[in-house]
Amino acid sequence: MPYSFDWSSILRAWPYLLDGLGMTAFLVVVAMAGGIVLGTGLALARTFGPKPLAVAAAGYVNFFRSVPLILTIFWVFFLVPVVLRAITGDPYLTVGPIWSALAAFILAESAYYCEIIRAGIGSVRRDQLRAAQALGLTGFQSMLHVVLPQAFRNMAPSLVNQSVALLKDTSLVYVISLTDFLGAASAIGQRDGRMVELYLFAAAVYLALCSLGVWAVGRLQSTRSRHA
């Protein structure tokens, strides 16, 4: 007997699924913001920092790019409470999985964002920096007002691409039982014995969201080539 589909679980469970989607969105937005800020710092350190700082930043990036994200999530999930207990002296302190997940994503994604931002900074002509200095801007001012605005414009498509990858990666919080969209779909599917429908639905939603990102990348690239 072929499988008979029953999609009604999804209709009944939609508030729960929506909560899960909200968690996914929260993780993506906060990890993206944190990752881009930290990634910019790392990229500046790698490009303009003194030698020891540049080497340290490169080591950081290579470390996080060679370790699976799931392992990073485990590391943070187990290590952060131990460190915080040592700092605060409170032996019963606990850290929710949501904060561990965020910390892990920011640490790992900043390594990926760093490489994109570094390429973006590299695409700005050196004359621009010289001109900024000639105008009497400080190093910080010339970064903030001259180099970074141009760099970010050049790398916008890559940043959106990386954020689509981040959206896909957030589903890995499943391993620390944090209920994001996939976790919610999985829970409902197991409860109702409807894993087929729920996982297909989850795949369709992720596909739609990522396709939106891919479309945005295409738009950004065509606008840029029109202005170039």
């Binding site: 060679s66 370790v67 699976p68 392992l71 187990f78 896909k168």
Partner: protein, 244 residues
């Protein structure tokens, strides 16, 4: 910090009677290597075929390949794994589905992981190969056609020999990603390196030694991949190209 580091934990017997913790970790490493290398080799071959398919003039080939690549690149790997493991056996003809469910559970997990990693990685590789083929100067394609080469001859003698060498550096990161992505296998119970280190951390109450060992193993794998691809790149470099 009041954490007791004890590296000798890896040489202690597991509380579950599975042998030394260190040996368990090595078994996990073995799974990681087997899954990743097997998936990579098939994915590379499939990715080259699909990448060529995306650049062919025939749209009955180009469209299905484009859809495949888009779908597999734009859904989370974990969702794909759950689809292969939980969903596909239900949708197959019942006799097949039952045969799969009656298999040895490790074999069933292995099958799902291999399918998942291979098809995901092939979609990524296809995209790199397509970019590589498109980056070979358009004049070369026209020159080949002008010389009277068939489509097959054009790809075999002009486009692929150049494109495949150009894509070696971008393929390096895909190759590294297979090893990292193989960690998702733990979610369906296949105890590869990350899964094993997690299990050891539960049993031994020494999470950080287990995670450190796994982390070092992944870093060594990454170094080995970078070295291997770099060697291939240098050996096959296209004369006269910058950056090659």
């Amino acid at each position: 910090m009041d954490y007791n580091w004890d590296w000798l934990i890896l040489f202690k017997q597991s509380v579950t009677g599975e042998g030394l913790y260190g040996v368990m970790l090595l078994k996990g490493l073995g799974w990681t290597l087997v899954i990743s290398l097997a998936s990579w080799i098939v994915a590379l071959a499939l990715g080259i075929a699909l990448g060529v398919g995306r650049t062919l003039p025939n749209r009955w080939v180009r469209w299905p390949v484009t859809v495949y690549v888009h779908v597999f690149r734009n859904t989370p790997l974990l969702v794909q794994l759950f689809l292969w493991y939980f969903v596909v056996p239900e949708l197959l003809p019942p006799a097949w589905g039952d045969a799969i469910k009656q298999m040895d559970s490790t074999l069933e997990q292995l099958l799902a992981v291999l399918l998942c990693l291979t098809l995901y990685t092939a979609a990524k590789a296809a995209e790199q190969v397509r970019t590589g083929i498109e980056s070979v100067a358009a004049g070369q394609r026209q020159a080949g056609t002008a010389l009277g080469l068939s489509t097959l001859g054009l790809y075999k003698h002009v486009l692929l020999p150049q494109a495949l060498r150009i894509v070696i550096p971008p393929l390096t990161s895909d190759f590294m990603n297979v090893f990292k992505n193989s960690a998702v296998a733990l979610t369906i119970g296949l105890m590869e390196l990350t899964g094993m280190s997690r299990e050891i951390s539960e049993f031994s109450a020494h999470p950080f030694e287990a995670f450190t060992a796994a982390t070092l193993a992944y870093m060594l794998i990454t170094l080995a991949v970078v070295w291997l691809m770099r060697t291939i790149e240098v050996r096959t470099r296209v004369p006269g190209l910058l950056g090659a």
